[in-house]
Amino acid sequence: MKKRIGVYICHCGTNIAATVDCEGLVRFANTLPGVKVARDYRYLCSDPGQDLIQKDIQELSLDRVVIAACSPRMHESTFRNLLSSSGMNPYLLHIANIREQCSWVHQDRIQATEKASQILRAAVARVLGQQALTPRKFGIQPSVLVVGAGIAGIQAALTIANGGMKVTLVEKAPFIGGHMAQLDKTFPTLDCSSCIFTPRTVEVARSQGIELLINSEVLEVTGFVGNFKVKVQKNPTFVDFNKCTGCGDCVEACVLKKGTPSEFEEGMARRKAVYIPFPQAVPLKAVVDKESCLFLSRGKCKKTCIQACKAGAIDFEQKEEVMEREVGSIIIATGYDPFDPHLLPQYGYGVYDNVITGLQFERLSSPSGPTQGEILLKDGTVPKAIAFLHCIGSRDENANLHCSRICCMASMKQAHLAKEKTGADIYEFYIDINAFGKGYQEFYKRVREEGIYFIRGKGSEIFKRNGRLVVAAEDTLLGTPLEIPVDMVVLGTGLTPRRNAERVAQIFGISRSADGFFMEAHPKLRPVATQVDGIFLAGCCQGPKDIPDTVAQASAAAAEVMSLLTRGEIEIEPTVATIDPELCAGCKLCIEYCPHSAIEFFETKGISSVNEALCKGCGACAAICPSKAARQNHFTQHQVLAEVEGLVT
Amino acid sequence: MSDIFILVEHRQGKIRDITYEIFGLAESLANQQGTSFTAVLLGHDVKSFADDLSRRAPKVLVIEDENLEHFNSVLYQKTLSSLISKYQPSLLLMGHSAFGMDLAPSLSVEKDFPLVTDCIGLTFEEGKLKATRSIYGGKVNASVSLRESKGYIATLRPGIFPPKMHGEIKGRIVMEASPLEGGVDVKKFIEYIEAPITGEDITQAEILVSIGQGIGGPEHIPMFEELAIRLGGTISCSRPVVDRNWLPKERQVGISGKTVKPKIYLAIGISGAFQHVTAMQGSDTIIAINKDPRAPIFSVADYGIVDDFQNVIPILKEKISDMK
């Protein structure tokens, strides 16, 4: 049956009409086989323009449409919608790009028109062979996996749970809160971190919608957007949380006298083998650390903890358990690791007691910390002079190239706290002050007003002279070298990707940017999405952030997840690959070449088949398939060849 | 055999020591040759010199001419040339000094007399002049024989031949007419320039701490100055140190610098070239510190230390300070 094609040529104002003879093009179109009608119009994308096409479709019962206008990136969707709303299958449309590919790049009207008509001829030839395609629909699991229970994970989890959806919140540590739980006060408002944070952690514990899995890690993720299958391993705490009251008797009883450095206290204090991470910990339960526990590590211990526990909660029989969850979407909020200053030996970290990191200072300054918030030297005395060094491990070829964004403000906040608590002389060694956020510059001003000395020069090295620490640097504004004796040095250590970032990236099939943090789908327009549909990012795992940005991004991720889940089902573009079971020889070449692992092999039938949900329609399989069994919908060999012939004849 | 001529060297109203050193040699050569020797005195107002010379030389030829007041090679050469033509001396002796070096080579060419310079030994063998010269920076001596000739010219190294400081003979003083008609304008004497004395006068010092190129670089000089002060002396040096502008000219000990005779001469990093040695060998006690055991300085020094000065001076400085 003869095809009935409608050809529409857009002037795009003068964008096209100025260089291409549109009337001429209409006359030419009419000469082409199968063309029922050809028209030109100033703006086809405008409502009148669309009405004109719709009218033709209905009155002339067209079965193919060619739009000669701008790039399909601009308006393909517009006209596809037009077709469907006019009762046609949207995939019977083809766009001939005579703007970007013709009028914009040529001056000569004759030649431009000639080229335009070739493009048009090709389009018409192609559209003849196009077939109606219908998108596949899939259901969506109304549940979410949030990985990491720092401020980012918690914010996202709560937002989603409060929206009425189930969240599984997985945390590697035996408590939730991440780094924010370690902070004393927060810049620039100086409100106490735990005061603003604890309510959220408690809320997590209470929330009906949140399944909290502490001491747990994600092992494996399979499936696709809307239908992910997740394997989570819960590591034993050797304490039955249902029984444990968090009384701490076991901690008292533990025989590990000198204890082991406390992770939460950044090594500024020591803990027993069985311990409660910190007073406001959620969950407030004791946990046993199997590295330091004499019984678990060496098998010999009186197990005084068991005797001490009235609730009988200690259970050395506990084993890892692996559980499966089905979720529609995933948010990764695995956070950051602070930079390890051992890597820059010139700062004597690990050599000198009173050279500490910013996070260690937070613990010193925290009322719940080892010194109840007093800023003290290792020997218990109060420092008379403190130096804060910026950019340690950031903006540094020898460590990390990126700016960690928060250190300037953190250092200045710590400087303020130190001044307030000790009255010491305080020096800030900086290269540039990065006070980018709301109220930050004001805070910078305030700190200067407080009489803290700012020295524009990076700390070169730290050594000891006459028992005192000396910071060597240059005052680059005066051009004079300095050696300033101090009692304590706080290294403004930067934020780095988690040590296990690579493994996590593999598990979730996402990629990392050059700085090692997880990569977003688009740095500006899709900052929380990854290139894997249904997996989103929140917080510092995507790049250094302060708390406001982290919370904002977490909320954004939650919103993305909600908008996805509330759809109930998702449509998958029909422009995917299919494998003709008749032709497939089962050579598996396509499986090897598929970048999205969207092709499975069915041993029983001995053939491969495409999982349309995972297929991104890249066409790799169609190109590689030796037996021409793999076909790429909407880009069939026949269609493409027709287009090519149209161009060359 | 005709006379041996000695060209008298004088400057600023003084006969220079080298002249007396030549007398000694001339006398022995003359005796060897069975001939006599003549002192040739050119100058202006030099009668007084003539008398002094006539006590040492059997004959003194004097030419008085105001143009000869100051040494000028051109005028001296003219004058000597005519005297030579007249008296046909077998040998003309002069010092290997700024004076002789500027005159001898050109005169030898003019008269076609073979020239031997900077001699440390001189003798006649079968009428031929034979000389000993110190070459390769004093590392070897060379005995040189000159071709047969009716006349020779030789310049003698200062400080080698024992001076003949006094004599009792009554030599004849013969006044000659000056062959010069006025001066010349190709080469004019203008004036003498004394090296400015800005610091202490090293010729007056009782103790000299004298440094050579061997100290490596000027950064060590303060250390030596301090040592000198502690010793109650002052600092002097050898030529290369001046050439390198580490110390001013006035501090230079050497033929072209100052001749010194301190009680103690401490030579540090000085190899001991003769130009230097000649000017300090009069010191009462010479102590040399040098890395190189073969340095010639050790053959003039009374005491020697073979070591890097850096191993010695610092300790010495300490020891000296508690010495007083």
Binding site: - | R11, F99, P105, S106, I190, E194, A195, Y303, L316
Partner: protein, 256 residues
Amino acid sequence: MNIIVCVKRIPKTAEADIFIEKDNKDIKKDNLVFALNDWDGYAVREAVLLKEKFEGEVIVLTVGPDESKEVLTRCLAMGADRAIRIEEPIPNDGRLIAETLAKVIQTGPFDLILTGVQAEDDGWGQVGVALAQILGIPHASIVTHIHIEGGKAKVRRELEGGLEELLEIKLPAVLTIQTGINEPKYVSLAAILEAEDKETKEMTLEEIGFSPREPLDATIDQVSFPPTGKRAEILKGTPDEVVGQLTEIIKRKKGS
């Protein structure tokens, strides 16, 4: 102002161990390094400085074997414009060298001739002054400063005892240059490599039409090591001990 500088390649003996050839006529030289005569280095530098002031050309001239080319190259690297080497079939006799140089110099125009006061090796200190006599132009030896003004040069000569004399001398003239007259510049290997492209003319005695006459003014019969005179008493021991003895000596002699 065209300046001719006569230079010589000499063996460096200050640091070296010296051995005497079997025929006792000279020292062994195969183990020695050769270089540009120190005095001549100052002369070339002075010529280049004058050229920088008055323009013109600096020509370096040497009488010597093939190897002498290396010192000419050095001079070119120091800023001389071209170089001439006269192949040396004649013994190292000052008078003959002067005559040979004169032969070449007479062929071209020049305003000034510089030589070193003497050579480091045999130290005759004869060539420059003899050359002037042969060319029939005035000379000044042991020059420590040159100031040129209209066809005349005011030069300072170094005398004894730190004294100098100021002379005025008509150009063209021969000046023999004393060390320290200027601050020598470092001659980088890069500069030397570049200088290898500059012109060096090689000539034989035939080409310059000069035949050395016989016999020579002076010939070396033999060389020998100088008799070692009295030697210093060498203080022995550790630096401390040595200094101990030394301070004693100083105390003693100071008192006396």
